[in-house]
Amino acid sequence: MIEVLSTLPLNTVQDLGRFGARHYGVSTCGVMDPVAFVVGNVLVGNPDNAAAIEVQTFPFVVRFLADTSFAVTGADTAATLDEHEVPPWWSSTAHRGQTLTLRPPASGARAYLALSGGIDVPVILGSRSTHLRSEFGGFEGRSLEQGDVLRTLDGEVASPASRKSAGLGVVPPAFALPPRGAKASDKVLPVRVLRAGEYDLFPVAMQERFWATDWKITHHSDRGGYRLSGQPLKLAAPVELRSYGLIAGIVQVPPSGEPIIQMSDANTAGGYPKIATVIEADLWRLGQTRLGSYIRFEDVTYEHAIDAMAPVVAYLAQIRRTTELYRSL
């Protein structure tokens, strides 16, 4: 059990998402960085989908009201437990009364606070994720506020090993899974995409512009979608499609010509032409990009897109093995 001592808006309880409710018009929601979220749960011995807190505005401060194992993953928030530094991608045990502080990250956009047992909020349409726009799910259907007390489901308070050690850390995926062909000095994140249904509708010059542009993630971006800015992609005449189902990662081109990438909180259907879709293996990376930063799109094949998941799966499997070994000590 924890109490929120200090928070800004838009920090919410999330799990992997509300799948299977799109036919009611209900968005999937769910975490923006599923890799960081799952690692957090693995580190504290939870099932992959146990609800955690997605923190995207900082500082975020909580007090533990009971001894609890926890992990902080995702963006490096220079976290402290009372006065002790908590390394990123690390699990440890907090004692009742201790205070955990997450600070504005130097890199990355979202941090995940996983608590042993997972956060105990009602399951609505199969998920504990907050759906902010519809005001349901998560903690009372809203962003967390100062004074909120969040309970956890039964979990291990602390494994014997973590009681006698400083905890367990893992290599962050930003190091274990660097973007293909990117240099550390690179300021533009390569994002792999598959072409989508209306790619061929765009004139060749616009297709070339799509690939060549360093697209800026504007400040009008959020969990619903990223609005990009750059030289607009224009069709001979603007068109609209009959409304069709959307999934996270789809890149649509509205009449303005500046693409939108639909993300976790996207509406379930829309009618803008779709030019591409971000591959699943790069969605978590996109979830950690910061407002004002740049991305460029990389054209990959269907086979490449499928195979690209293998390193992510292997990374998670390695962490599961390490964690199991550690917990059996």
């Binding site: 789809i250 379930t268 269907y302």
Partner: protein, 239 residues
């Protein structure tokens, strides 16, 4: 002032976003590795939607299908893992399109009382000017129609409706209303709608209905289901 605005609206008719020319053949395209979109050819017609419903019923039973999302004369199939043989899966969808008959629907008839015009139907004068029909005539045409729910989507409980009389088609606004109230009865292009959440909305408001469209306490939580018929009943007119 109002006539200026309507004049601008009429002149800008060519500039507003148009629907993509109808497909001559059904189209299957991928959205990422785990989703395929099947789009029906031809105009926005109910018989095409009925075929889409049939395909949805069948595809739901396929292995490794996680979710089937109905759209307006289209269908998104989300798989639990990427189909290795994309061509075979696309071909199976195409085959279903050619093979399956229209679904025989026995939807319910749902009556929705509407307060037409007034503050919550503030675009009624613009629709009237655009169509060159008096507001009373717009209301009479709108409330005489029978509308079929094609799909639920976009926002919780929102129904995409077929059946709007072409005489009262009205392009979406280029500048959306910033705060349109939940329950607003709208016209967006060739579609009729009832908004389900308060917020920005580019459709034209002609009235308001109190009927709740989404309620988590109910199973299913949506009032409407694909195949249902909607009748708008005039509860009151505020001109």
């Amino acid at each position: 002032m109002a006539s200026d605005m309507i004049g601008t609206l009429r002149r800008s008719r060519a500039a507003v976003t148009a629907e993509r020319p109808a497909l001559s053949e059904p189209k299957v395209s991928s959205i990422g590795t785990r989703a395929l979109l099947l789009e029906a050819p031809g105009a926005f017609e109910l018989h095409q939607q009925k075929r889409i419903w049939s395909i949805a019923d069948e595809v739901e039973t396929w292995a490794e299908v996680e979710e089937v999302v109905l759209g307006v004369t289209n269908l998104l199939v989300v798989f639990s893992k990427p189909p290795r043989d994309l061509e075979a899966t696309s071909a199976a969808l195409m085959d279903a399109w050619h093979r399956l008959p229209e679904k025989a629907v026995s939807g319910r008839v749902i009556e929705i009382p509407v307060i037409y015009g007034g503050e919550l139907g503030s675009d009624l004068p613009a629709v009237s000017a655009y169509s060159s029909l008096p507001p009373e005539e717009i209301i009479s045409i709108h409330s005489a129609g029978s509308y079929t729910v094609c799909a639920i989507g976009s926002s919780p409980g929102f129904g995409y409706l077929h059946g709007l009389d072409p005489r009262i088609f009205m392009p979406r606004k280029t500048v959306p209303s910033l705060r349109m109230l939940k329950g607003t009865v709208t016209i967006g292009g060739m579609q009729a709608g009832i908004s389900v959440s308060t917020g920005p909305n580019g459709w034209n408001a002609i009235g308001w209905a109190a009927t709740p469209m989404f309620d988590l306490a109910k199973t299913p939580p949506t009032l409407l289901a694909p195949g249902d018929q909607i009748r708008f009943r005039v509860e009151r007119i505020e001109l």
